[in-house]
């Protein structure tokens, strides 16, 4: 087990290096010399430029610059944002919290709804209720998250049942911790619901198919032949085996959630990483874009690592290798 996780960690190193390299290359590809662009910007003081030149080796060859940049990343120095006049790491720290809470919130909701529905669909395969659920799932898979977000905003604008935009209400200052938490949650609800609704469909279909596959597998036939009660067959044997592949796709799911979150954040006005990177692109704030991209990638890597560990915990074939 320990060996397996260490091995996975070890495998991540080239991946991380590759990711930083690609993030770096993307910035280098942008037209014009970045350094001159800095100098032409009247809002940036010559001291800042001098400081950055030293830290990031901006006048050195590209490959050397890459290593300068890499060295800085490990000390969490992600450079200066030119539009905000603050360190990029500071901006990311604020926004990352919101993106992570949005992603975890909707991941949790999606799984807690889709897994039982998938089991139900698997048991009812071929009946009208299963066909109905599958049709709804198709709609969920196909509806663009931004379109659904806009529809929900339209609905809320008519009914005003939930707050829109931002993370906090005006009365925020002076409220108790609990009130603050509830307020945050209320604001989280709109982007969270959009992400959940667009995520349930595919997860439901996967779970249903896995459950069906497990039900039709030889080892479940054995349990029938053993004469153990049906509920135990469903919830012990079929469920465990159906959940396992779901854990493997968790990393992939996370990629979808993060991407979806990015867009939904922008539409619903939730200040997360997605909006940060868009702001970076619109103001040509390249260090901000580069750092956001990298952080997005690192989040995904962490998610994959998490699912690897989880898989090792649940699957003896992985654990005891």
């Amino acid at each position: 087990m320990k060996k397996y996780i260490l091995k996975r960690l070890f495998q991540l190193i080239p991946l991380l290096i590759g990711m930083t390299f690609i993030s770096f290359i993307i910035i280098q590809l942008s037209p014009g010399d970045y350094f001159t662009q800095l100098k032409m910007n009247p809002e940036i003081s010559s001291e800042t430029i001098e400081k950055m030149r030293k830290i990031f080796g901006l006048d050195k060859p590209i490959i050397v610059q890459y290593f300068y940049w890499l060295k800085n990343i490990f000390t969490f120095n992600l450079g200066e944002s030119f539009s905000y006049h603050v360190p990029v790491s500071y901006l990311i720290k604020i926004r990352l919290k919101n993106t992570v809470s949005l992603s975890i919130f909707s991941l949790f909701l999606t799984w807690i709804i889709a897994i039982p529905l998938g089991i139900y669909g698997g048991v009812k395969e071929g009946r009208w209720i299963e066909k109905f659920l599958s049709f709804i799932a198709y709609i969920g898979i196909s509806i663009p998250s931004f379109f659904l977000a806009m529809l929900i905003i339209f609905f809320i604008s008519k009914t005003a049942i939930l707050p829109l935009g931002g993370t906090t209400s005006i009365f925020y200052e002076g409220a108790s911790y609990l009130e603050k938490f509830i307020d945050y949650l209320k604001h989280l609800l709109v982007p969270g619901i959009v992400l959940t609704l667009t995520g349930i469909g595919s997860l439901y279909r996967l779970m249903k198919n896995n459950f069906l596959e497990a039900l039709n597998s030889p080892y479940v036939f054995t349990t029938y032949a053993k004469g153990i009660p049906t509920y135990k067959i469903y919830f012990k044997h079929a469920l465990r085996n159906a959940i396992n592949p779901m854990i493997t796709i968790f990393g992939y799911e996370l990629s979808g959630i993060l991407s979806g979150a990015g867009l939904v954040e922008i539409i619903t006005g939730w200040p997360g990483m997605g909006r940060l990177i868009l702001e970076g692109v619109l103001s040509q704030d390249l260090y901000l874009v580069m750092a956001s991209l990298l952080i997005g990638g690192i989040l995904l890597i962490l998610g994959n690592l998490f699912s690897d560990v989880l898989l090792a915990l649940t699957d003896p074939r992985v654990r005891l290798k």
Partner: protein, 351 residues
């Protein structure tokens, strides 16, 4: 092809219907010049955010008219975009009506269009803030939104096929290296990667440049997944007996790939392509929606929605502005249904 469609019609009605809708959408996009009652950039300044025009058969005196008609509409409150229907002004709707001269498909000019009114205005889906007909803009926008998916997927596919094929067929170090590269690309959340790649290029480009740019960005994001799928396929087919047999017979690598491996991947490939088109359509829409893609006055389904983003007033008073989103949804669900149907039908096990 015909056999596949027949089987689709018999086995999976809903994907057959989806196929018909897709064909319909593409032909409508192709003939947009002829079907659209107005050019995409024609602004009717006196009709901003006008609600969809109703087509009537009965007038306010309950008299039946065989030829459908529309009423005259008038903006009464510019601040709230309130319109009033003037009941005594009736304009019949004609087919092949005469209008302004327009180029059709860029080749010949015409002054007759599929439908319209001689006087008065007909806005089937309403108008946007500049008073442009949303119906016409959706038709023109379909050209961009629908073509980008197909072009993008073809480029990604060529890339994916080459890289995945090489990786799977030759294996060893090449495979290892290429797959690490694929992994790195897949480890970035696609939305972030899309924006970062967009940041590399200047914000204001000509619309043609932007179109090409979007295709390139989307293909750069999409190739990795396809390459991985194709590699897996090639790996499994490589182990199949008929390929081993071909090898034992001394066939050249080239022949094995083109005579045995490619034909055997085709059914899977068609399904994979169909199911990945929605991703490209979504990518274009998202970029245009955020103002990073197709620029005004050219319409795409994505950028037609961008005015409503964060603008609660427009969203709540003019919900017809969201109609382009419905078309994105319709196209995507049709491709998904079609892809699933094809997977079902093309699988030799189901014959």
């Amino acid at each position: 092809m015909k056999i596949v469609l027949k089987r689709l019609k018999k086995r999976n009605k809903i994907s057959y219907i989806s196929f018909c809708i897709i064909i319909f959408l593409y032909s409508v996009a192709f003939f947009a010049d002829f079907i659209a009652p107005y050019p995409y950039n024609k602004q009717f300044r006196e009709y901003p955010l006008c609600p969809p025009t109703r087509i009537h058969f009965f007038d306010h005196n309950k008299n039946f008219h065989l030829r459908p008609f529309v009423y005259e509409i008038k903006l009464v409150n510019p601040a709230l975009n309130q319109y009033e229907v003037i009941k005594n002004k009736i304009y019949p709707v004609y087919f092949f009506v005469k209008g302004e001269k327009r180029k059709i498909l860029g080749i010949f000019t015409s002054e007759r269009y599929l439908f319209g009114t001689k006087q008065g205005k007909i806005f089937l889906f309403g108008t946007d803030i500049h008073g442009r007909d949303i119906f016409s803009r959706i038709l023109y926008g379909a050209r961009i939104s629908l073509s980008i998916g197909v072009i993008g997927v073809s480029i990604s596919f060529v890339l994916g096929f080459l890289i995945g094929g090489i990786s799977g067929y030759f294996g060893g170090k090449i495979d290892n290296l290429l797959m690490r590269l694929v992994e790195i690309f897949m480890m970035f959340p696609s939305f972030y990667l899309m924006l970062a790649l967009r940041a590399v290029f200047p914000l204001n480009l000509s619309s043609f440049q932007i179109y090409i740019l979007i295709v390139v960005i989307l293909s750069l994001i999409g190739w990795a997944g396809l390459a991985r799928i194709i590699r897996g396929m090639v790996l499994s087919i490589k182990e199949e007996e008929y390929v081993l047999a071909a090898k034992a017979l001394g066939l050249s690598t080239f022949k094995i790939i083109f005579r045995h491996i490619i034909p055997n991947t085709s059914s899977y490939t068609i399904t994979a392509i169909t199911l990945s088109i929605p991703g490209y359509i979504l990518g274009e829409s998202a970029l245009s929606l955020l103002g990073l893609g197709i620029q005004e006055p050219y319409p795409s389904w994505g950028n037609m929605l961008s005015v409503s983003v964060g603008n609660l007033r427009i969203l709540s008073t003019a919900p017809w502005m969201l109609i382009p989103g419905f078309f994105i949804f319709l196209t995507i669900i049709c491709f998904n249904f079609l892809g699933d149907g094809l997977r079902d039908v093309l699988d030799p096990k189901n014959w």
